[in-house]
């Protein structure tokens, strides 16, 4: 009995000890987590621009900073250029082929901006707009979802195939189901990658086109199931490609059923609930180095594939950031500012700042100063 009592006392003591130790361990872990360096900068605050701030509409579709430093925004109602702290609108009355701007890419050699709309492609060159329509040029289709420029070729992702325009000869080429392995006509994104281009096809996965050999290779969801990922890390998470991006030899795929990463030989896939990805509904991915900024319908995630930070609005309407590190609990911080809307359609990021196009305005993210490195003297 005594032994039993002693055992119970010992057990209770152990439980208490472990409880205390555990509690102390969480606090210790939190402290340690806060100090751990992250593979990406954290956002300190958001500066938002909405209709009251001069935007012509709620919805911003895309954003980029041009090489001359000007910020360009594609909206539901024209393109915007931010100059001297003010937005200048470029609309149909200025020659734009349609008010709904879906994508943009800059030809950095000439400074020309190519603007994709719901009805036609536009070249904005030193204030003048030249329009390309499917009826007036070799453009495959008027609905332009994505654009990219590689050397002398403009690649155009359209609702009826991929188009390429040779910027020196003016020659168009079209790639669709009739002359490639493309299974569906809806090309949502195109991205140049050194000696090849990647083509995101809605319902058709990803096509990889080797420019020198003129060979198309197809990357399809290995389980061919839209909703479920039955086979992990073996190919695109889904064939419903909504966006693709490429940088530093890494291809990123956004779908409405998760996101994927491809380094040329291995795939990784993420879906909500199985990973820190906030939502399967991925609208846009902006890679910066080996880090991807992911725009979803529920906020923004930034990740290197292992560590994640997600910016969203919580149930109380507060802006929060959730930091998830491998093997550690999620750390949640409340922010003083938040995104104007968690439905994020476009992203532009560099080392200094980030811009987000959302369905209720534009947001400028200011990064927090990186944590000061531990002083050598302190370490001693």
């Amino acid at each position: 009995m005594k032994t039993t009592l002693n055992s119970l006392t010992l057990a209770a003591g152990m439980v208490l000890l472990f409880s205390l130790a555990g509690a102390t361990g969480v606090r210790a872990a939190e402290t340690a987590t806060n100090d751990l360096p992250l593979p990406f900068p954290l956002i300190d605050r958001f500066e938002n621009f909405q209709i009251k701030d001069g935007l012509p509409t709620h919805k911003a579709h895309c954003v980029l900073r041009a090489s001359d430093g000007k910020l360009w925004v594609g909206t539901y109602n024209g393109a915007l250029v931010r100059e001297d702290g003010k937005f200048r609108r470029i609309g149909v009355e200025d020659g734009l082929s349609h008010k709904m701007v879906l994508c943009m890419v800059e030809d950095k050699r000439t400074g020309d901006m190519w603007i994709g709309t719901m009805r036609g492609l536009n070249r904005y060159s030193a204030g003048h707009i030249t329009t390309y329509l499917q009826t007036t040029s070799g453009l495959p289709n008027n609905v332009i979802y994505g654009l990219d420029i590689m050397d002398d070729t403009l690649w155009v992702a359209t609702a009826a195939g991929l188009g390429s325009l040779n910027l020196k000869t003016g020659e168009w080429a079209i790639y669709d189901q009739s002359n490639t392995v493309m299974h569906e006509p809806w090309v949502y994104a195109v991205k140049g990658a050194k000696d090849r281009i990647f083509v995101g096809v809605w319902g058709g996965g990803i096509l990889e086109y080797e420019l020198s050999n003129k060979i198309f290779k197809e990357h399809r969801d290995p389980d061919r199931d839209f909703h479920y990922e039955l086979v992990h890390d073996a190919g695109p998470v889904s064939d419903i490609t909504s966006w693709i991006a490429w940088e530093d030899d890494i291809l990123w795929q956004g779908t409405y059923f998760g996101m994927s990463r491809y380094d040329g030989s291995r795939w990784r896939t993420w879906q909500e609930k199985k990973s820190p990805l906030i939502s399967n509904f991925v609208n846009f991915i902006w890679p910066h180095g080996r880090v991807a900024w992911v725009g979803t319908d529920r906020g923004i995630s930034v990740t290197d594939g292992n560590t994640w930070a997600t910016y969203r609005t919580n149930e109380k309407g507060e802006g929060i950031v959730e930091i998830a590190r491998p093997g550690r609990p999620v750390e949640t911080r409340t922010m003083s500012t938040k995104l104007p809307n968690d439905f994020v359609l476009g992203i532009w990021v560099d080392d200094q700042e980030a811009w987000f196009a959302t369905s209720d305005g534009l947001s400028h993210a200011i990064f927090a100063a990186p944590p000061k490195p531990t002083k050598v003297a302190d370490a001693k």
């Binding site: 050699r109 000439t110 020659e171």
Partner: protein, 650 residues
């Protein structure tokens, strides 16, 4: 003997009977069936058969001449370099003795010239070679070459913070090549307007201005506008695009040293107004675009006088002090001298409305035009000695360089390059073609609407009934030999009729061109070969897309196996080798219109009789709803692009 004659007569009678029978029973039916004409009065076997381009005038060898194109004067003023594009040569002449010292062969039709700052290297644009060549001025031999865009016609040298640069205007590819000098390589190729033709650099070297000859494509009733393109020569980035409303044909551009101005001659065009009035500018007049290089604002000033016009303004130079500008009038055979101080004085006093309306005031030019220097035929390019004391005028169709004392504007003599080609009917015809003296008050020449024999890209209102009611697309004269009849209604059976008395009454409003000159003129027009196109390979091989397009062009069945009716096949009306059977058809555009040939068709936008189609694609995507202009409704976009790719090789 009688028997033999009788047999021969019987045979001949039999043959005539067979011929008659064939005509009654086969040929008539064949011609009706194949020509799709209700009336065979204008149809012969030769519409479809026995047609060859080999015997056409433009396919024959022609004499070459010492026509001066670009000019460049050495920094010490002792030498002048002259591009002789028709000879594939560059000449060097002594400015004091006015003698040609030596000539160098430069392949590819050397046209535009520029010297580097030290005068050691001469940069030459080769218009048919699509390249820029470098000549060592010591040896006058080629030391380098680099490919540029299509048909480079002008080059300017400048110094930038990033090194020496060359800016080249590529007239046929509508772009600008920006090159570094050392190493000689292309840094970028920003797009220009349409037909970029002249380049000038600001005195500080930070901006290059490019004048474009043709208006940008727009719908027929849109007020036409050409462009002055502004780029940064250091980075090759586009800086600004200024429009010249209702103006085109700028072939020269020049900076003004003492003022923030860039000057470009222009043709003020009134194509949307019915050609019924003959005064106050009429169809077109000459002017000068004054561009503020800081703001980009452009003011157009007239160069003509109320009752005397100086057509086809071309080259321009400004003296080093920025006091006077010299503008060549290729059609008027004069160089106009503009006092820039007086011009500036007028501009300072004028209110915005007066500046806006200035170009329409035909009495204004005497305010600042101080002299008209007479020249030999067709003055084009100009050059000034570095001290501004001597003006050199390239008299293109006289094969000479007029040397003028710039201060007194008195002619000092000529550098004679050739004999002017008096014994060559083609050359004589070109002189008629470029001469404004055949029109009322010297307002314009044939060339004014057909630069280099091609198109100005405009549709003109030829109707008296109302503004813009009867726009007719201007058709290229290049490759027209053998494609008679002419006019969109196909009423003129020959070029002699086309350019004859009725034309004089309707358009020129003067006496007809005398018969001898008229024959020379038509000889010249017939000598114009089809326009060169970028996508036609030298050896005639086609790309896969062009091959597929060719199959569509000659298709008798759709890919689905459906027979295409004979009258709706491309090759029925556009039959090789001219790609026209020279008959009129209704293609659903509002009547019967002559079938244009398709040689060089890629370069002759807009299309259809009233210029409603801005691109080849529009012919089928917009203006062929009922498959009357060929069966195209079965085509997907790739097939249409293939067809267009093939057409662009013709």
């Amino acid at each position: 003997m009688k028997k033999r004659v009788l047999v021969i007569l019987l045979v001949l009678t039999g043959l005539a009977g067979v011929a008659l029978w064939l005509r009654q029973n086969y040929w008539t039916d064949h011609m009706l069936r194949m020509s799709h004409q209700k009336n065979l009065a204008k149809v012969t076997c030769f519409n479809c058969h026995l047609v060859s381009t080999d015997r056409l005038r433009w396919a024959q060898p022609r004499p070459h001449h010492d026509a001066p194109a670009g000019l460049a004067v050495s920094p010490d003023g002792k030498k002048i370099y002259i591009a002789l594009d028709d000879r594939d040569e560059v000449a060097e002449a002594d400015t004091a003795s006015r003698q040609v010292l030596r000539r160098a062969k430069v392949a590819g039709r050397p046209f535009g010239l520029a010297l580097d700052a030290a005068g050691k290297n001469l940069f030459v644009t080769c218009r048919d070679g699509d390249r820029l060549a470098v000549l060592d001025t010591q040896t006058l031999s080629e030391t380098g070459s680099v490919p540029v865009g299509m048909a480079p016609v002008a080059v300017a040298f400048c110094r930038t913070a990033a090194g020496d640069r060359l800016v080249v205007a590529n007239s046929m590819s509508d772009d600008i090549s920006v090159l570094s000098v050392s190493p000689l390589q292309e840094l970028g190729r920003p797009s220009a307007g349409r037909d970029p033709f002249a380049v000038a650099i600001t005195p500080d070297g930070t901006r290059a201005f490019i004048a474009n000859r043709l208006v940008s494509l727009a719908t027929g009733h849109t007020i036409p506008a050409s462009e002055i393109t502004e780029i940064d020569p250091m980075t090759a980035r586009t800086a600004r695009r200024e429009t010249l409303d209702s103006a085109h044909q700028s072939e020269g551009i020049c900076a003004v040293p003492s003022r923030p101005w860039m000057l470009a001659p222009l043709v003020k065009v009134r194509n949307l107004v019915p050609i019924t009035q003959v005064a106050n500018g009429w169809v077109m007049s000459s002017g000068l675009a004054v561009t503020d290089i800081k703001t980009g604002n452009v003011i157009q000033m007239p160069l003509d006088e109320a009752n005397n016009y100086f057509a086809d303004p071309s080259g321009i130079v400004v003296d080093p002090a920025g006091r006077r500008a010299f503008v060549a009038s290729g059609g008027g055979d004069v160089v106009t001298v503009v006092d820039l101080e007086r011009l500036a004085g007028w501009l300072e006093k004028a209110d915005p409305a007066a500046k806006r309306e200035a170009v329409y005031d035909m009495s204004l030019a005497p305010e600042y035009v101080t002299a008209r220097i007479p020249t030999e035929r067709n003055p084009k390019q100009l050059a000034l000695s570095p001290d501004g004391g001597t003006l050199f005028v390239a008299e293109r169709l006289a094969d000479s360089i007029l040397v003028v004392d710039a201060k007194s504007v008195a002619a000092q003599g000529r550098i004679v390059l050739g004999d002017g080609g008096l014994n060559d009917p083609i050359r004589r015809g070109e002189k008629v073609f470029t001469k404004a003296g055949f029109t009322f008050q010297n307002q314009f020449s044939c060339r004014s609407c057909h630069p280099d024999g091609h198109v100005d890209g405009l549709s003109y209102d030829f109707d008296t009934s109302g503004i813009g009611d009867n726009l007719l697309d201007n058709r290229s004269l290049m490759g027209v030999a053998g494609t008679e009849p002419f006019k969109w209604n196909g009423k003129n059976p020959t070029l002699e009729v086309q350019c004859g008395p009725r034309f004089a009454r309707v358009l020129m409003r003067t006496d007809p061109i005398p018969q001898k000159e008229l024959l020379d003129l038509t000889t010249y027009i017939k000598s114009l070969p089809p326009h060169r196109v970028a996508t036609r390979s030298a050896d005639g091989t086609l790309t896969p897309s062009q091959e597929r397009g060719k199959a569509i062009f000659f298709a008798t069945k759709t890919p689905g196996g459906q027979e295409i009716p004979h009258e709706r096949r491309c090759s029925t009306c556009h039959r090789p080798p001219l790609y026209s059977v020279r008959l009129s058809f209704d293609v659903g555009t509002g009547g019967m219109f002559d079938t244009p040939h398709l040689l060089g068709v890629a370069a002759s936008a807009p299309y259809l009789h009233d210029g409603r189609a801005q691109s080849l694609e529009e012919l089928w995507t917009i203006y062929n709803p009922n498959d009357q202009h060929g069966v195209s409704s079965y085509m997907n976009k790739i097939q249409l692009n293939d067809l267009v790719d093939y057409l662009k090789t013709l």
